[in-house]
Amino acid sequence: MIPVIGLVVGVVLGLVLQPTVPLWAQPYLPIAVIAALDAVFGGLRAVLDGVFSDRVFVVSFLSNTVVAALIVFLGDQLGVGAQLSTGVVVVLGVRIFSNVAAIRRLLFGA
């Protein structure tokens, strides 16, 4: 429940403050978005599975984000940032799809 409250507050804050993404952070925006979505759906599925844990939620989100940003940063330095960020997006996107499918099975039994 508490992460949901945080989510709502964050969305409202973003809509009200309208922060602009600095230029250096532009390549990391898709990574941040996909990691955030992954954390949201993973947490949701864990809740439905009955195995949710605050600690795992926080740690997994932070570590996923850091690793993804690290990969993209490394790729940027090597000149292949776009490709590596595509890889990150693919992996996390697959996870999101699987999680959503599991949620669907849990909710509708189909």
């Binding site: 429940m1 964050g10 804050l13 973003g14 602009t20 941040a32 955030a36 949201v40 605050d54 600690r55």
Partner: protein, 350 residues
């Protein structure tokens, strides 16, 4: 609780991510927690969904809450999950807003481009309409005839009438007296310097052209593109015809021809008068008629076989040259030179 978790362990990489989308940490924590509960209360049938926000089991069981099915959340974990949720929401909202901004700016640019395209289309339409209108109203017979007339005037093929300026040049009086004795020693320089030479006539004619004259005639000899002003001994020849003094240079041009001639031609005339004693004069004439030129013969061109008729006003007949209004005395039988004319230094303009 662990329904649909019946997947066998699947190989590495992307397939693993596919097979185990849920973070394994959840499962591990849950396993620790449930075994702790099982050991504590012996009841392993905890309802799903009640275990959220419970971090204690991961930290280790607490003896004082042994029977509690629902553990109390710890403030540190509450703050952490709140912060993570906040960050996630912030990221999502920011990204959405950024894409929205991009989209709106793209929309503006697209609107501007559409505007430009439409404006250009309107231009094209207008120009197309104008082009077709102009194509319909092509050159007519009257236009070509007037073009012919203009060309004939410019070429000196027809007499020219209009407001004009007459410049009169004559030898200095000192040059006239010793005329019969040109070989007298000592009489030379002063007398010769007062004589009008071909260069003076050419200079005045050039200044008249530069002043905007559309036609110039010297003693009734119309200057054309092939005319020459030359000298042979003391005689001044225009178009191979010798002239006799005084020299009258008539020009037809714009109404302000005299004013336009004055700054340069007038200075030249003043110099002739003051330095050499020549008799010069200018007279603006409201209506001056210049004769047609006489050197207009076709050397190479010939009428096309099927041509109906040429311009009828051209003086084609060599036997009837246009008569100058003021024939120079002593010019009774003009010999029409048919040879190729010598290029003249006659300036056409400026």
């Amino acid at each position: 609780m662990s329904r649909s978790r019946s997947h066998a362990p699947v190989p590495v990489g992307l397939l693993e991510a596919l097979a185990e989308p849920l973070d394994p940490g959840y499962e591990a924590v849950h396993r620790v927690r449930s075994t702790a509960h099982a050991a504590r209360a012996g009841s392993s049938s905890k309802a799903p969904g009640e275990s959220k926000a419970s971090g204690e089991s991961g930290e280790g069981p607490r003896p004082d809450e042994a029977g509690a099915v629902r553990p109390r959340p710890r403030p540190g974990h509450v703050a952490g999950s709140l912060a993570v949720g906040l960050v996630i929401g912030l990221v999502l909202a920011t990204s959405g807003l950024a894409s929205d901004r991009t989209r709106s700016s793209l929309r503006e640019r697209r609107a501007a481009l559409v505007e430009r395209v439409e404006a250009s289309q309107a231009d094209v339409d207008a120009l197309t309409a104008r082009a077709s209108a102009l194509r319909g109203a092509g050159p007519t017979a009257a236009d070509s005839r007037s073009a012919d007339a203009r060309l004939a005037e410019a070429a000196g093929a027809v007499p020219l009438t209009g407001p004009g300026l007459v410049v009169t040049l004559d030898d200095a009086p000192a040059a006239l007296a010793p005329a019969p004795a040109p070989d007298a020693p000592g009489a030379g320089d002063a007398a010769e310097s007062g004589r009008i030479v071909a260069r003076d006539v050419a200079q005045v004619a050039n200044e008249l052209w530069a002043a905007g004259a559309t036609g110039v005639a010297v003693n009734g000899q119309r200057l054309t593109a092939t005319s020459s002003i030359r000298f042979a001994g003391r005689a001044i020849l225009v178009g191979y015809r010798p002239l006799a003094r005084p020299y009258e240079i008539g020009a037809v041009g714009p109404a302000d021809l005299a004013a336009r001639f004055e700054p340069r031609g007038g200075v030249y005339l003043d110099e002739l008068r003051t330095a050499f004693g020549a008799r010069v004069g200018t007279a603006a004439v409201a209506r001056l008629t210049l004769p047609a030129g006489t050197l207009l013969d076709l050397d190479h061109a010939a009428p096309a076989p099927g041509a109906v008729d040429g311009p009828e006003q051209w003086p084609r007949a060599p036997a009837s040259p246009a008569t100058p209004p003021a024939p120079s005395p002593g010019e009774t039988s003009p010999s029409r030179a048919r040879s190729t004319p010598v290029p003249t230094p006659k300036g056409s303009a400026s």
